[in-house]
Each structure stands twice: as C-alpha cells, then as structure tokens.
Symmetry: C2
Subunit: 257 residues, 2 copies
C-alpha cells in the first residue's frame, strides 16, 4: 500500500481561504494519506494577546510553560480541529492527533547543551501500529506538531521532523511518499524569482548549493529531514506548493540521494 505524507507550512494555515484550497487539494488526493501541520504565527499572536512574552536565545524561541499551553491550545485545538472539521466536509474521515493521542509520537526533552529550549521534544518513537490501524480503516490522521514523553508531559516539536519521522516509521510496511508543502513552488535558485525552482537536488547538488549560499537558514534542517527520510527507505521526497499534489507537470523540487 502507498501512503502519502503531506506536511503543510505555517503560511498555508494562517489565511482561511488559502487553507480551504490546501485542504481541497489534500482531500482529493487518492489513497492512504497523513497530514502534518504546525500553527505558524497564530500561536505567537495568541501569546501576545495573552501577554506572554516570547523568550528568545540566540534568535531561537524558548518554549516555556505558558508558551507550551498556548501551542497546545492553538496547534492541538483551534488549528487541528478547524482542519479536521473542514476535511470531514470534504468526505475525508479525518482524525486529529497530538503525539499523546494513541501514543502516536513519543519524544524526550531536548538535552540542554549551550541552551535550555524548555518544553521542546526530540522524537524517539512513532507508533506505526496505531498509524497502520487508522490507515487500514480509511482514517486520515491529521498530526499537529506536539509530542509527549509518556510520563504526562507534552512537548513542542518541529513539524518537519514529525513528518519525516512518521514517513520513516511507516516505510517499514508501506511505500511512502513525503511532500513538504509551503508557499513557494520549490527550492528557489533566486529568492526573488518564484519560478526559479531547482527541480532536482541530490546530496552532491545540495553541498554545492550550500557553498553557493543558495540553500541556507531554515532550508538546511528541512533538507536534512528530506535526506534522512530517503536514507531510511522513504520512496520519494518533494518540496513545493500544494498544487504539486494535483497538477501534473507542476514545478517542484524532487530530492534524491
């Protein structure tokens, strides 16, 4: 059986009309599928309204107790349930999941090296038995970027990593395709040119693109998740817009080893 895992970025969630179009594309996709989402700037907006200060260290956000509660409310509640209700209206039997639900994604608190990032988890296990049960019953899991430690603690967790870890775990029993969808058509050679999509990236090209400074910043960990998935038997990995799910010949970046 083939399973498509689609991760949607924050920019596709924040605008209601954009999200509707994204979910229409997702719902139309045939076969077993899993949606993974974060919450984009919504959590920051709610935090600000609640007067919770964003703690940063070296430009990276700290997830303190209050911020974790907001993430649980926004990602696990508002965003997740909005997506699930919309998918149900599109005849997709969606089921929202945090990592605690069905013990689906287990993690450990990120070890403190130079900084303590607070309630941030690094994924240690994906419950492929439970995902298989759902997929075999035509249920579509909708996973938010929250994991748990098995001892009652929830953790904020990178959505790209959750997507690749689910893909890797399911690759043992399924043919898995992993799609990272965001607001661009793929990895761009020139950031100002929306159509300058680099259609194929392998490890060799990747190293060259890093040297040329074309791949940098947030794209680096995303690419690492892609290669990590490919090295661990995920069949295909793509980066692009949501249109790549439905349109043939759509520009997109295909990642290979």
């Amino acid at each position: 059986m083939k399973v498509s895992i689609i991760k949607i970025g924050g920019n596709l969630i924040e605008d209601e009309s954009v999200l509707k179009k994204v979910l229409q594309n997702f719902a139309r996709l045939e076969g077993a599928k899993i949606l993974v989402h974060g919450g984009g700037k919504l959590a920051t907006q709610v935090s600000e309204k609640l007067g919770i200060a964003t703690q940063m260290v070296d430009g990276r956000r700290i997830t303190n107790r209050e911020t974790l509660d907001v993430i649980t409310m926004v990602y696990g509640g508002l965003v997740n349930k909005t997506i699930v209700a919309n998918l149900q209206s599109l005849n997709c039997n969606a089921l929202g999941l945090s990592g605690a639900d069905l013990n689906s994604i287990k993690s450990v608190k990120r070890p403190v090296k130079t900084h303590d990032f607070g309630f941030v988890g690094d994924v240690t296990a994906v419950n492929s038995e439970m995902f298989s049960l759902l997929l075999n019953n035509n249920i579509t899991p909708v996973c938010c970027a929250i994991s748990h430690d098995g001892n009652g603690q929830l953790f904020n967790t990178n959505a790209d990593t959750i997507a690749s870890e689910i893909a890797i775990a399911l690759a043992k029993n399924f043919e898995v395709e992993l799609y990272y969808c965001f607001e661009k058509k793929g990895v761009l050679r020139t950031i100002e040119d929306e159509d300058s999509v680099i259609t194929d990236i392998n490890t060799e090209i990747y190293q060259a693109l890093i040297k040329e400074n074309i791949i940098a910043d947030g794209m680096l960990p995303k690419m690492q998740n892609c290669f990590n998935a490919l090295e661990r038997n995920v069949s295909k990995v793509f980066i692009g817009s949501i249109d790549m799910l439905s349109e043939e010949n759509q520009l997109r970046t295909t990642i290979t080893l």
Copy 2:
C-alpha cells in the same frame, strides 16, 4: 461487551491535583470505557484574558465566533491533550476527540426560538461504528464538548448531553453504564450536607423532588439526560463523585425509570 461512559464535570478539571486523582480512578477502571469532559471555567478565564466579552441572554451564555474559538482552543486543545497525555502515562491508550474527529458527533445549530445562542449544537448523530472500532482495539476515547455539522462548522455542545447520546448510541450493541461524576457524592437532599445523598431516584421520586424544590436549576437537564438514556436502553445511570468508580459501598445516586 460492557462499556462504561464517564462524564467529568468542570470542577474536576480546573484543579491539577484533583484532575490527576480523577484520571487515576478512571485509568484503573477495567474494561471498555469512554471519558467525556467539558472545560469548566478555564474557557471563561482565557476569554477574559483575551478581552472577549461574555454575551449573556436571560442568564445564558451566547457562543459567538470568538468564544467558539476559545472553546476549541481550551476544551479541544489544552484540556483534552492534558487529559490524554496523563492517561497515556497511566497505561491507558487514550485518544482525544472532538465531534469532528472521525465524524464522531454530528449536530445542528440550535434553532432560534426566543434567542439565538450562536454556535451551539444539538446532537443529531453519534458514529457508533467508529466508537466500536476504537473500543474493540482497546483505545479509550476522550471526548470534549464540541460537535460539528458535517459542513465544516464546529459547535459548542453540552457535555452531559454528549455523554448520554454516546451512551444511547452504543446501547444498541453494548451493555452501557453511564456515570456523571462531579464534586459531590450524589444528588443531595440538603445542599449544605455533603452526606445527604439521595441514593435512589426514579421518575416518581424525581417529580416529588422537583415539587419539594430539592432538584432545580442545572440538575434538571442533567436528570433529563439520565432518564433519556435509561428509556433508550442504557443499563445503569449514576450520579456521584469519582470515588464511585473504584470504591465499593461508596455513596452515590442511582437513577432508574
């Protein structure tokens, strides 16, 4: 197969140490089980912090758009995921559900008679097929007080009613027991006397207690849910504290027709 459906009231959720004890009692309960919860005053507190005014008509709350979002965040996100993570730590394979998840609870917007209560739903269907699938796989559903209309709209829904409607739907295929747990030991004869529990209430006694003004206000719809469940083949219905789940000879109110 026997299924126990336990609804826990708002006062059992608001205090972290009380909630832990409640979940320990729930997790110890043997056999198939379902937990139903609201969110108590937490939603009101978050609304206040966010500066959302509570609209009231004739002493009853109106669920406007902003309030629905808060309810989705607090009941569907923070409270639900906190409960699920804690149950997982107690070896209970919990799965949090809104009515949209798995299309588990469908509703229609409450018809406008004298007042428009806003985004409030009256339950029209419970997906017993999905609940059966979960229970047969040793999964424990944890349902928050949110339903959906199947067209993408979520609705705030009374948690007592959700519990009785699930009980009624499952009574077709299971032996169902329904437990309404709150901070008291049962329906009290004298509100000041915590031990004045009326141990048995049937329809005849119920009418007498209404005349005596012993049952009034919020207890009236709760009792209606109890009788409604019994009339539609739910085996047993109880009102009492969480201790009634574990302790023999514990004081509690047993409802019969």
